[in-house]
Structure formats: C-alpha cells, structure tokens
C-alpha cells in the first residue's frame, strides 16, 4: 500500500496566560491509503490540535505550528500557499467535528451548504450542484433528502446534522477524512449508525480515515492502527491488535485496565490510573507520565523517552521494559 500521509516531527505550540503550551510536541506517524487510524488519549493531550495542524487550521495567535512536515500526496502541506491549502481542504481532506452546529451555517439551507463547495471546488452549475447535494444527502441516509435539503440546520437532530456534515465532506471525494469525536455527543444507537455509515463510505471509496475519540471500543471496532497520545506526544503506536492485546506503555496499559468491559461476567474491580491528567503548561521534567506511573525508575524523572520499536510496526516511548521491569 502507498503512503497517503506522513507527519514528521510536528510541533504546535500555544502562548497562553499560563505559559507556553506544547500542545503537539514532536509527533510523527504515517498513514497508508485505505487505512483507518485511531487517535486516543485524555482530554487536552493534543488530539484535536494535531489534526487541525494537518489542515493548518490553528488560530494564530495564540497558536503556531513551529516545526515539522506534513507530507500529503507527496507535498508538504506546511509549505504550500494558502490558496493551494484551500483547495486541499475543499477537495482532498475532509474534516468532521464533534459539534456539527459550529461548522454549519445556521442561515443557509442544508442543501445549499452541501452544494456550495461543489460549485466552488468542482465548477458545477448551481442546479447540478443542488441535485448532486440531494444525492449526497441520500448517500448518508437522510430520509426524504429532496425535502430535507430545503430545511435549515436547526431543524435537524444532532445525528442528522452529523450526517449532513459527512455528506459535505464526501462531496469532493476526499482521499482522507479526519473525524474528531464525530459521535461523542450522540446516543449509542445513533453513534453506531454513523460509524457504520463512515466505515461503509471509506471502504466503498478506498478513503483513509483518522478517527479521534476517547472511546476505546470505537477504536477497537473501526481502526486498523492506533496512536496513543499523552501530553502532546505519541507514547505508543501499533496495530489495534498490538495495542489491545500487547500494550507496552504504562499509560496504555493503565487505560485498558481502567475501562469496564461489557463482555466480562464477573465483577472485576477497575484499576484506575492514579493522579491527575497533566497540565500542559506545567509539565514535569523527564517523561511527562512519570508522576502517575507505577513502573517509573530514576531515569524517567530526568530524560524524556522517544518512540522506539518494540516489534515490527509497534513502538513505544518508555524507558522501562514492562515485562522484565527494567
């Protein structure tokens, strides 16, 4: 398979009242064509910022991409002109957000919002674009799409708005969809409808998908590969099987043990990760996870670990070999 996206040493910082926040601090990973990558980690660890950086949607000030490369279809997106970047956003990479209301225009009909990008990016005539928009709304299973296209976003339920967002993204036949917590605000059954829809669409069109979520079940079901983030860095990456069956970073191990599982009959006590999530403006020296880590050794207090292979395509950033405890 060919590489679609290569993120290399990406750094995005924010200058805030509390000090410099290294929201994304040296993140590197690849994404192949047709692959679904899951991005997990606690609130504030830099998941959204790392995704927004790919599309250069970081508000400046206070934020800035200070280093790195984002190679997409052979070009470094951090180097191209803003005009070219707009074309990438409209035609090649689609983004779906958690709260669709913030990205839908309340004053335009849903049909208009889906058809407008088609006019701009694909030079379609107004009428043809509207017809295509209805088709797209049908493809995301909005009932009575022709009629619904004339409605405004606030007439739509949360699930329907998210469908409309997906159809907007699909209009340009993107090769990559980035979905940032696309279903977190939705009910379980609607969440399942949407994720199955996204899965079907990506499969049908051979698209890659980056799915950001804190739900470990969603990642297990939909992703082939997983990046686990902690305090602005990737601390472990691997295939979903690697991450779920053979987690190597103490944070990943902790996450897995702290969620209840539906398929366990016996009441097992949950094993929480002790302590509090990190404050990115005030990170400790050394490994940022060390204050909460039960495996930490002297070295962890002073030196920040980098990603090292533990196996083929499986990497972790941790000084301790969990199995031997060294």
């Amino acid at each position: 398979m060919a590489k679609l996206l290569e993120v290399k040493n990406l750094k995005t910082y924010f200058l805030t009242d509390d000090g410099l926040v290294r929201a994304v601090d040296g993140v590197s990973y690849d994404l192949e064509e047709g692959e679904t990558l899951g991005l997990v980690g606690e609130s504030g660890c830099g998941k959204s910022v790392s995704a927004l950086s790919i599309l250069r949607l970081i508000p400046y000030p206070p934020g800035k991409i200070v280093d790195g490369q984002v190679i997409f279809e052979g070009r470094d997106l951090l180097k191209i002109k803003e005009e070219e970047m707009r074309n990438i956003r409209g035609n090649h990479i689609a983004m779906i957000f958690q709260e669709p209301m913030t990205s839908l225009n309340p004053l335009l009909t849903v049909g208009r919002q889906v058809s407008e990008p088609l006019e701009i990016h694909q030079n379609m005539k107004k009428k043809a674009a509207l017809q295509q928009a209805v088709k797209l709304l049908e493809s995301v299973k909005i009932p009575e799409a022709e009629l619904r296209a004339q409605a405004y976003p606030h007439h739509f339920s949360g699930g329907m708005r998210q469908r409309a967002m997906i159809s907007m993204g699909m209009g340009c036949n993107p090769s990559l969809i980035i979905a940032d917590e696309p279903t977190t605000a939705l009910d379980v059954t609607v969440q399942a409808q949407l994720l199955e829809l996204l899965k079907g669409l990506t499969k049908e069109h051979g698209m890659s998908l980056i799915i950001i979520t804190h739900n470990l079940g969603v990642v297990a079901r939909y992703a082939n590969r997983v990046n686990v983030m902690y305090a602005g860095r990737i601390v472990e990456m691997g295939s979903s099987i690697d991450i779920y069956e053979n987690p190597q970073h103490p944070y990943t191990i902790g996450l897995m043990a702290s969620v209840p599982r539906m398929d366990q009959d016996v009441k097992q006590k949950l094993i929480p990760i002790e302590g509090q999530p990190p404050d990115l403006a005030n990170l400790p020296e050394g490994c940022p996870f060390h204050p909460r880590c039960k495996y930490a050794v002297e070295k962890c207090l002073h030196e920040t670990p980098v990603l090292e292979p533990v196996d083929k395509n499986h990497k972790k950033a941790c000084w301790v070999d969990i199995k031997s405890g060294k």
Binding site: A192, R221, S258, I271, I273, P277
Partner: protein, 328 residues
C-alpha cells in the same frame, strides 16, 4: 416482616406542559417524560437506569426526590408513600435521599470554600452541635472520598473534574442518606479518572450500606456497577433484569440493539461481532408513536405493535420485558 424494598415506584408519570405564545400562554401539548413507570430498589442494591437522551432518566430521578412533582403515581420509601408530603416532612426526607450530578463544574458554588459547601447540609439539617463538630465531620467526609482535610479551605476552581466529583459525593454523604441517585456521575470525566470515581462510589456503598439508583448512558459503566438494570425508551421501561441476564439474554428488541451498538475494546471480537443498526432516531416525546413507542424503529415490529401498548411482565424469573413478542 421487614420490607426489603427501600424504594418502590408505582405507575409514575411526569408530564410537562408545552406552551405557545408570549402574552397569552396556551397549552399546546405535553411531554410525557415519564409515562407509567414502576420499579423497586432493594436495600443495599444498585439499580442501573439506562436509555438514550430524552428517555426520561433524569426526570424519573427528580420525581423520586420530589424535585419534580409527579403528575401521577406513587413513590414509596421504606414502606411509606412520600408523594404529596407536607413541606416539613419533605425536608426530613431530603436527609434520606441525595443526588450526585453529572456536571461537577456547575453543581458547586464557585464562591464557596469546599468546607462550607460540605457543611451546608450539616447546618441546614442541624446534624452537628457546634463548629468543632462541623469541622471534624467535614474532615471525615473529605477523607472518606479520598481528599485531604486541608482542602476544605480551597475553592472549587482549584480542583480537577474528578476531584470536584469527589466533593459532590462528600456533600451528598454529609447527611447520612440511605439512597443516592447518581445522575451520570462519571460521564464528564476522562476515562482514567472515571475508574477512580467508580471505585469510590463502590467503596462507600459497601462501607455505608448505601442504595443507589445509577443513571447513565454508558452501558459498560452501568453494567459494571449495577446489580440490576432497567432500560428506558421514550418515557417507558422496556426491560428490567439482572446485569448478567440483561447482557447474556436481552429480550426486548431495543435492548438488543442498544447492547449490540456498544463496541467492546477488543479488536478481534469486534471484527466478527454483529451490530444491529436501528433505523431512524428517537421520536419526539411530544408526539410519541402509538402502541409500543419503539415500533417505528423496531426490526421485529408486528401489526399489533402500532395499536396496543405492551405492559411490563415477568417472562422469566426476575426478568421483566414490555413487548408483544412475549405473551403472558
């Protein structure tokens, strides 16, 4: 004989009128948020209450606490009907039942010190005799929820989400309640912090012999913490069973869909697991479907489902379901 039920809810209904117009308000309809719901909670047990947004979980909890007066039905606490009590008696009842809320940020007064927040109910219910006793009790409560006594002097904004939830729990425990209604107590917390709070809720239950109504939409969490689980759909109970039965042998088509929709953190299992994808979304509670409220989305709907309302019946030992697929 001693009554083993701490709480019995009988045919509870909570309807909210819907008005139109600004000057002359006209009632144009009503939301049947809770519609003929009955269940029991045994002493010392945890009953989980699950269902999608708007299904009436919070309203049911508030009706039990009499925050929201029931439109009809009975709420029997320790064998005594507590609906329509005098103000005085209702106040006394507040000591027996407490609530823990979803949002640890908005449920604490930002201008009050933690110590004052926790001692407020102690003073209101005259549970302590002097300031010294107050202070000791606050310290004891803070320790019980895993916080330091010195934290009594700090303000809510100095605490993380998980710590604020602990403070909310300490405040609820202050009056020595028998029943605690936990309304989505961990939904707003990060996964790693959720486990800390869930463990705390379990520990204090054991220590203080508490009874819980645990409301949440995360089925894995509810299943973990509950002895029995009740499933709601659009104001109605559709199934009640023990945690094991409900998962191993769900009977109602809605329960089946709900359980199958929850992905399990196990990629190998998920690769082969079938998901029942329901059509459509939960209908408006102002215009609920006729007959069985689930029939518009039910993969197994039959003609009678749109005309007859199914009743909750025991189809297996301690396993209740409300569905026409099951005959008495």
């Amino acid at each position: 004989m001693e009554n083993k039920n701490l709480l019995e809810v009988e045919n509870l209904r909570v309807y909210f009128p819907v008005h139109r117009g600004t000057l002359i308000k006209k009632k144009v309809g009503e939301v049947k948020a809770v519609d003929d719901v009955s269940f029991k909670i045994l002493k010392g047990e945890t009953l989980g209450l699950v269902g999608e947004s708007g299904s009436g979980k919070t309203t049911a909890g508030q009706a039990i606490l009499q925050i929201e007066p029931p439109t009809a039905g009975k709420i029997i606490f320790e064998g005594k009907d507590i609906t329509g009590l005098e103000k005085n008696e209702r106040r006394k009842l507040r000591r027996e039942m407490q609530m823990i809320f979803q949002d640890p940020f908005s449920s604490l007064n930002p201008r009050m010190k933690i110590g004052n927040i926790i001692e407020e109910p102690l003073i209101a219910h005259k549970l302590t005799n002097n300031r010294k006793e107050n202070k000791e009790r606050v310290e004891e409560l803070l320790q019980m929820v895993g916080l330091m006594p010195s934290m009594a002097e700090r303000f809510p904004h100095e605490f993380s989400g998980g710590q604020r939830q602990r403070i909310g729990i300490a405040r609820a425990l202050a009056v020595n309640p028998k029943l605690i209604i936990c309304d989505e107590p961990v939904s707003a917390l990060d996964v790693s912090i959720q486990a800390q709070v869930i463990n705390l809720i379990e520990e204090i239950q054991e220590k203080l012999n508490l009874t819980y109504l645990f409301i949440a939409h995360d089925l894995a969490v509810v299943r973990h913490i509950s002895d029995r689980i009740a499933v709601m759909y659009l104001g109605k109970l559709v199934e009640v069973a023990s945690r094991i039965d409900l998962y191993r042998n769900p009977l109602h088509p809605y329960t089946k869909a709900l359980l199958s929709a929850v992905p399990i953190p196990d990629p190998r299992l998920e690769a082969t697991r079938e998901h029942i994808v329901l059509k459509g979304e939960i209908p408006s509670p102002m215009f609920p479907p006729s007959g069985c409220r689930f029939h518009t989305r039910c993969p197994e709907a039959m003609p009678e489902c749109s005309s007859r309302i199914p009743q909750l019946k025991e189809v297996d030992s301690h396993h209740f379901v409300s569905c026409h697929l099951f005959k008495d």
